[in-house]
């Protein structure tokens, strides 16, 4: 059975978001990642499995250790989904600020 899951479902979980944040700057082993959380090691492993299935994490073998790293391409895709919506509001709000600043300076 193909267990590929929805990316947005993957990032909806706070622990999984914390894992992504943790791995944003460096690749780490499962043990090192688990050491950062109070949750049981198998729970962290499950989260890592889900993130990997969604291509949000890449696994690389170095000697006997497996390192997890963030797949930046996939993160970029998520950001892109909401980016136009955010940009639309940013444009509106910048205009609002300009209009009201003008009004303030001229009154």
């Amino acid at each position: 059975m193909n267990l590929r899951r929805d990316v947005f479902q993957a990032i909806a979980d706070p622990t999984r978001r914390a894992i992504l944040t943790l791995l944003a700057t460096q690749a780490m082993t499962a043990g090192a990642i688990a050491a950062n959380f109070d949750t049981a090691r198998p729970t962290v492993s499950k989260h890592l499995q889900i993130l990997t299935e969604c291509d949000l994490l890449n696994k690389t073998q170095e000697g006997r250790e497996i390192y997890y790293a963030v797949n930046l391409q996939k993160i970029w895709e998520i950001e892109e989904f909401i980016a136009p919506f955010r940009a639309m509001w940013e444009e509106r709000f910048s205009k609002l600020e300009d209009v009201m600043k003008n009004f303030k300076n001229n009154s």
Binding site: F81, F85, R86, A87, M88, R92, L96, E97, M100
Partner: protein, 156 residues
């Protein structure tokens, strides 16, 4: 690009939060939303009706790059000066159901303020479609501009 606007959209929820800090006093931020003269300027729309009061309502008319009119309207449930607006929002003539908006205006300093908008949609799918809309619209408009350019080329 460093965007000041933050959007919080949790997967599987039928709501979103939009928040931004402004370099203007809270009274001016509130004014921008409640007075037609200002709304028209920053929303780039024509205000057909706006009664900013409890049990009030509004209706806007916006013209797209093709010159077609779009109407947006809603009921203003509650309007508390410099504090909050609770209203519905609907894009008339579309399949999008009305949405409920809670706007909270807060002073940060004498000259700065914050606006948080919580938008509640009819369903998770409606929310996700709404989030995708600017992207689809952007593509459509780009396509139309392209089409217009090609037509000009043909006639030239």
């Amino acid at each position: 690009m460093d965007l000041k606007t933050q959007i919080k959209a949790e997967q599987g929820e039928q709501q979103i939060f939009i928040t931004r800090n402004f370099d203007i006093p809270v009274a001016l931020l509130y004014k921008a939303y409640t007075e037609a003269e200002f709304l028209e300027q920053w929303m780039n729309t024509k205000v057909l009706k706006l009664t900013s009061e409890n049990h009030g309502s509004y209706r806007f008319e916006t013209t797209d790059p093709r010159g077609q009119s779009h109407f947006f309207s809603g009921a203003i449930h509650e309007c508390t000066c410099n504090q909050s607006i609770i209203r519905t929002f609907e894009m008339e003539g579309t399949s999008f159901p009305p949405q409920l908006e809670f706007m909270t205006f807060e002073p940060l300093t004498a000259d700065t303020s914050n606006l948080t908008i919580q938008i509640v949609y009819k369903s998770v799918t409606d929310r996700d479609n709404m989030l995708k809309l600017p992207f689809a619209q952007g593509l459509n408009w780009a396509h139309e501009r392209l089409e217009a350019c090609m037509k000009n080329l043909k006639t030239a």
